[in-house]
Symmetry: C2
Subunit: 347 residues, 2 copies
């Protein structure tokens, strides 16, 4: 399979992007990578890969396609995509649109990635809005939250589509037989929540091509009660960012508290390994990127501060999405969704 990697996305491009791509080629024999970026700069970066001898087996599976323009995170996504026809986003996504590659990976602008995927690669027929999914590092039971911030104003039927797409991902990529799908709400009872979420609940209860397990309170979102958490992108983003903020606050308070006494300092020293392991379990690097679900290709958004390992993980994730046929499953199952339309009610 062919995976396009944006050589210029993220804070440490192009070095970590090129390194991560080569690492992936060394690991996966069946993968070819197309790096999109300024030709000369990318070629030079490949030339600077630490272990040049390792390139021997993989160089023939690595192509560079010239894309001299870069879209920054400060630019208006749609305007930038229109103006910069030679940007890594436009050139790279055109390759996917023309079926010359199956996947696109970028650590660049989230907005440009989403708008580009929507307009260049195109939605899967029947899907109203592609959604950004994020794996939350819930201990023992990773949780896929859809949508994590791409769609801030949602119709209930879109959230049902998010649920189906998230279920398809967890089934095909994480190998869960029957992923349990919860709906983010402020209480467990069916009558709880705002209008949008109540209407979504009513739709979710109909026969759907996924397993609905009811409302999930934000308090329980990190408690391993479901595999997919469906939500609009506003509440989803609040939950995601707040979790990061709460964890970071607690770690710094803990450090501050321990450093205030000799006993505490000794404790901190002895607990160092535990703290490290714990911090690592919340590290986005190993989790990979956020898949954009609902478009005609595997699209992965890697963290802006990705290192080579994070880029490698995002490429591995793209491969899993392609191998698992996630796009094909979504294409099939969108037709099986109960939309709550009047014809359905009579049936």
């Amino acid at each position: 399979m062919k995976i396009v990697v944006d050589a210029m996305g993220g804070d440490f491009a192009p070095k970590v992007n090129v390194d991560g791509a080569i690492d992936a080629l060394r690991e996966f024999d069946d993968v070819s990578i197309i790096l999109v970026g300024p030709q000369q700069q990318v070629e030079e970066t490949i030339g600077a890969y630490a272990d040049q001898r390792a390139l021997e087996g993989v160089r023939e599976r690595l192509t560079v396609v010239d894309a001299p323009e870069v879209i920054t995170t400060e630019e208006h996504p749609v305007m930038a995509l229109r103006r910069k026809k030679n940007s890594t986003f436009v050139v790279g996504m055109d390759l996917v649109r023309r079926k010359e590659a199956e996947a696109f990976v970028s650590a660049g602008s989230t907005g440009a990635l989403m708008a580009g995927a929507m307009f260049k690669i195109g939605r899967i027929k029947g899907i109203d809005r592609p959604a950004l999914a994020t794996l939350l590092p819930v201990p023992g039971r990773p949780l896929l939250m859809v949508d994590a911030g791409a769609n801030v104003d949602c119709k209930p039927s879109w959230i049902v589509q998010f649920a189906m797409m998230g279920s398809a991902y967890m089934n095909r990529v994480m190998n869960l037989e029957k992923p349990q799908v919860g709906l983010l709400n402020i209480g467990v009872e069916a009558a709880k929540g705002n209008e949008q979420v109540q209407q979504t609940y009513a739709l979710m209860e109909k026969p759907q091509p996924f397993e609905f397990c009811g409302n999930i309170e934000a308090r329980d979102a990190l408690a391993g009660k479901c595999d997919v958490l469906a939500t609009d992108g506003f509440a989803g983003n609040v939950l995601l960012k707040n979790t990061e903020g709460a964890i970071s606050m607690l770690f710094s308070l803990l450090k501050e508290g321990l450093m205030g006494s000799t006993k505490g300092k000794v404790a901190a020293l002895l607990a160092k390994d535990t703290f490290k392991t714990l911090k690592k379990s919340f590290d986005a690097t190993e989790i990979g990127g956020a898949p954009l679900l609902g478009v005609e290709g595997a699209v992965i958004k890697a963290h802006g501060n990705s290192n080579a390992r994070a880029i490698f993980c995002a490429i591995r994730q793209a491969k899993q999405v392609v191998d698992g046929g996630v796009v094909e499953v979504i294409r099939e199952e969108v037709a099986r969704l109960s939309t709550g339309a009047p014809e359905e009610e009579k049936a």
Copy 2:
């Protein structure tokens, strides 16, 4: 001042409610308390107060008003209020409505408290929706979030009112000269967020009787960037409950991690005090209850699992709201809000 305390609200009623009320009377000379609940049961509980000699100075400031019916958290609030005319909520709030008391404190049903306050005590003129405020234990800078879950579907102008009421509370109860008010959003830029929050931002930017400091991301909500966080009750409740969930998850992971090795066990032992202090700083008991802002009286919702200390703190908080004249400030400032109405635009 006279404060009504619901003797039957919460998991450990009436004992902790009566104990907390007596403790408050011993502490505050200028407070009288009216306990509402089944007369005989409440009288007996008073008789069982541990230190009967301590009652001598306070017994004359403690009245019991008979309210034999109790509204549970399982009941539909509005229906229950209508049916149970002799419930603690109806009897107690009628006392506030008739100006026979200034405040009402309950650890019972949140729904009944809100509905009762709205229909029995009544809104402050000009306030569209009373809001539930919650103090988040941000280290060094407590954060008042309004609304914390009372209003799940909001108009932008309501959120502006929440902001003003939160600012009045932080000014009069927490003694902050110019509380900084942030708007919960998924990015800091003015154009970020869903439609509701964008419209709210536009209103907030107009001259208002509070200091607007812009959008606050959920990641920064716990980082001490503002004093009041204005939001609709759905997102607010997600943030509140998720914070509780994240902290509890992290503590249990930490415990699990440390208990896995001898070194860790020693560390846990040495760090015991720090853990205790840290846990206490997140303990709702000391923070008091959640004030319901926007009604014609001081109304405090104490936690359902309140102990006597928590009830005491909620009563102290009610006293602070009355002493600070929060209701009067809100009454005055509601007229000064910019509503974005056309007349205003022309000015």
